[in-house]
Amino acid sequence: MTELHCSVLVVGGGPGGYSAAIRAGQLGLDAVLVEAATLGGTCLNVGCIPSKALLHVADAYAAANAREATPFGLTVTSAQLDFTQTTSWIASVVDRLDAGVAHLLAGAHVRHIHGWARCVDGKTVVVETHADGAGKPLTITTEHLVLATGSRPVELPALPFGGRVIPSDAMFALDDVPERLVVVGGGYIGIELGTAFAKLGAAVTVVEATARILPGFDDELVRPLSRALTRSGVEVLTATAVQGLSADGTIVVAQRTDGSTVELRADTVLVTVGRLPATEEWGLEELDLERSGPFVWIDGQCRTSMAGVYAIGDLSGEPMLAHRAIAQGRLVAEVIAGRRRGWDNVCVPAVVFTDPEIVSVGLDPTTARASGTEIVVGRFPFSASGRALATDATDGFVRVVARADDHVLLGIQGVGTAISELSAAFALALEMGARLEDVAGTIHAHPTRSEAFPEAVAAALGTGLHLTTP
């Protein structure tokens, strides 16, 4: 068949796209989803999921292969890693989740079309279908069009992708752990993958053009991570700009701000200098939508400037995170179904899965002060946490920011082992509009790392027990 009509057409099958399609199906809308590659988009196939799986393997390997003896008397002679098995295990995780998404789509009666979509106008898309191989392009007309094309890695002119220079997507297809890995760009993707491969035995050097890695997070949060990186042998060169590859392509040439150059031998060069919304090759220019910088402009209901056309996920702006895309996907389906909905969240948690991990929810102290509110800040180091000590992982701390007058929490940040799981408590507190007294009034199980949260709050209230106030 060469023509298809539906009520909701979603372009892009990543977290945002499939969430919108599933929710639309649940709401009884006749939904179609078009995805050229595999369902799940960047996050599920070459992003969040595989990188977390890789980090898990790295942690296990590092623990089992620790050179020095542990303080608790465990020494391990040696551990072997079959990396090809690692990558195939990771692939199996990805495939199971892909299948899961496909199943969810089918369950919600969403028609999944495999092919590259190209917009003709605000209500018509042409898909060069690969699946049925018919080769004849399929024209889909719809009443509502949801654009969820996601984002793609930025390529450095000086270091075009190709050969040993690869983007983060390709890291999970390596057939072995590179001996020497140079990571260009100190963003969270670069540091995460750099940490993982360092644990897997690679010699890792991170080259960051600006003064500091993880620019989105304040110094205090990043310092414990920097220390850990140095401990694990990862070399971090800040204020150093990559010039390009040597002639034979094996050496990365970079230049410090003082003009001196540095040369880094590299078997693999991972370029993670940021991501940009995917706005090419699918006809966005045909729609001539209002833009906001490189992104497509949207209002509080994910509506673009054109009636009946919506945009969600990385295409629609910062922060480019999967859980934001998912929330928008659900929202846009409900808006199309005629419900009164709007983007109404107080915060979107940001998590960096380095070692130690970093979490930031809401405002950090400097931003809070900048908005002119009188604030109180409370900190609690994991070194004073029983559980941290008992698990020999005492790096980092939890920090709370609250309004001085009515103690309403404005922001919670933390760095430390396994702190990513605390992001749930932090986000819930902010979303519920909790005050310091609410957190202090909640009994946290002992001994857990989560106790650091009420302890930080107590510090802010000046009622701390487990910390001698300085």
């Binding site: 003709v120 106008d121 605000g122 400037s305 056309v309």
Partner: protein, 403 residues
């Protein structure tokens, strides 16, 4: 008492043209290209004719063309007639909103085209599709325009038959009558200013000569004498108004030229050879710088005005058959078979071949959609091409429209 002219017969009467004494073939003389208008005034009431009743080519205007070119001409006319027939049927089947045939007057356009060169420009009305067919314009594209489908070069913006094809010397057709006539003179004036040897051809129906733009064109042509041929296709009917209402007391439309000091010919539009000869004469005259000339092509609109009209409401059913100057295709066929180079079998084969060509073309065209079915240009196209750059108020309206 106000005189209201009436046609000689109405529905129910019997059409009888015997009283119209058309000059016989070969009787009207052929002036030299450079002859001054004053020396040619007699031709305005003559009638350039080559084919006699037996189909023999006689008289000074015989263009003595190779049989092969005549066969090509015959094929053009057959192609136009078959295209018209199929497109009217398509309209009846709801695949197009509208259609206009040039049934019975195919020779005028097909014949005239042969006298023109690439670079010349026609300013046609909606009944000169023969100019395109004879110029080799792909009939699938004409059908695409009639269907407003995805191949329509005009993106479904214009009503059917309002073609536009600059490379084929075919100016964009407008629904408004006679507007193109003075535009053709302007184009010719530009050719003269630029000094190239291109020739313009203006086209108008008998009824539309009443429009002011026709008179404006005649004044400008007379004043500046640019290289333009001013064609008047007198097919007897302007929807339900017969040609005398527009012609008034003048005995022929060709005589209009005399008031403006322009030379004019009156030609039997259904005589393919006469059309080729007269067209060549007028175009060459203009190209050689001897100025414009007016040509009245006497023919008969055998079909309805359009798919929305039924002539039985205003003229007898048998009038078409009674037209003394016959059918252009039949008369050329008789002439060709008379020269012994074109048998009935040849003709039948060509008719079948033409019908097959048009049928296949229609299948291809319809594969790309018709007005109510299949792919049509995207609604966003409405907003494009109004200006070169889309102004902001139009961009806003497009965004609100959601296409």
């Amino acid at each position: 008492m106000l005189v209201i002219p009436e046609p000689a017969w109405r529905p129910g009467d019997h059409a009888d043209f015997s009283r119209d004494d058309f000059p016989s073939p070969g009787e009207t003389r052929r002036p030299a290209l450079a002859d001054p208008p004053e020396a040619m005034r007699d031709l305005a009431t003559g009638l350039v004719r080559v084919l006699d009743d037996e189909g023999q080519a006689v008289g000074p205007w015989d263009p003595a063309l190779e049989p092969s070119t005549l066969v090509a001409g015959l094929r053009h006319m057959l192609l136009v007639r078959e295209l018209d027939r199929r497109m009217l049927t398509a309209q009846r089947q709801g695949k197009a909103s509208f259609y206009m045939q040039s049934l019975g007057e195919e020779a005028v356009a097909c014949g005239f085209r042969a006298a023109q060169r690439p670079g010349d420009m026609n300013f046609p009305t909606y009944r000169q599709q023969g100019l395109l067919v004879a110029a080799g314009y792909p009939i699938e594209l004409m059908m695409a325009q009639v269907y407003s489908n995805e191949l329509d070069p005009l993106h479904g913006r214009q009503m059917p038959v309002m073609y536009s094809a600059r490379e084929f010397g075919f100016f964009s057709v407008s629904g408004n009558l006679a507007t193109q006539y003075v535009q053709a003179v302007g184009w010719a004036m530009a050719a003269a200013i630029k000094g190239d040897d291109a020739v313009a051809a203006a086209w108008i129906g008998d009824g539309a000569t009443a429009e002011s733009d026709f008179h404006a064109a005649m004044v400008f042509a007379s004043t500046y004498t640019p290289p333009v041929v001013l064609n008047i296709v007198n097919n007897q009917w302007a929807i339900s108004t017969y040609q005398a209402v527009a012609r008034g007391r003048a005995s022929t439309f060709a005589m209009r030229a005399h008031g403006f000091g322009l030379p004019s010919l009156r030609v039997d539009g259904n005589d393919y050879l006469a059309v080729r000869a007269a067209a060549h004469w007028a175009v060459e005259r203009a190209r050689l710088g001897f100025g414009p000339s007016v040509v009245e092509w006497v023919t008969y609109r055998a079909g309805a005005h359009s798919s929305s009209d039924d002539p039985s409401g205003y003229r007898p059913k048998d009038e078409a058959a009674a037209w003394p100057l016959g059918d252009p295709i039949e008369r050329l066929r008789v002439h060709l078979s008379g020269t012994g180079v074109w048998s009935d079998a040849d003709h039948a084969a060509m008719v079948d071949e033409v019908e097959e060509q048009v049928r296949v073309a229609q299948v291809d065209a319809e594969a790309h959609g018709t007005l109510h079915g299949g792919p049509t240009p995207s609604p966003k196209d409405i907003f494009e091409g109004v200006y070169q750059e889309m102004p902001s108020h139009l961009r806003r309206q497009r965004q609100q429209a959601g296409y």
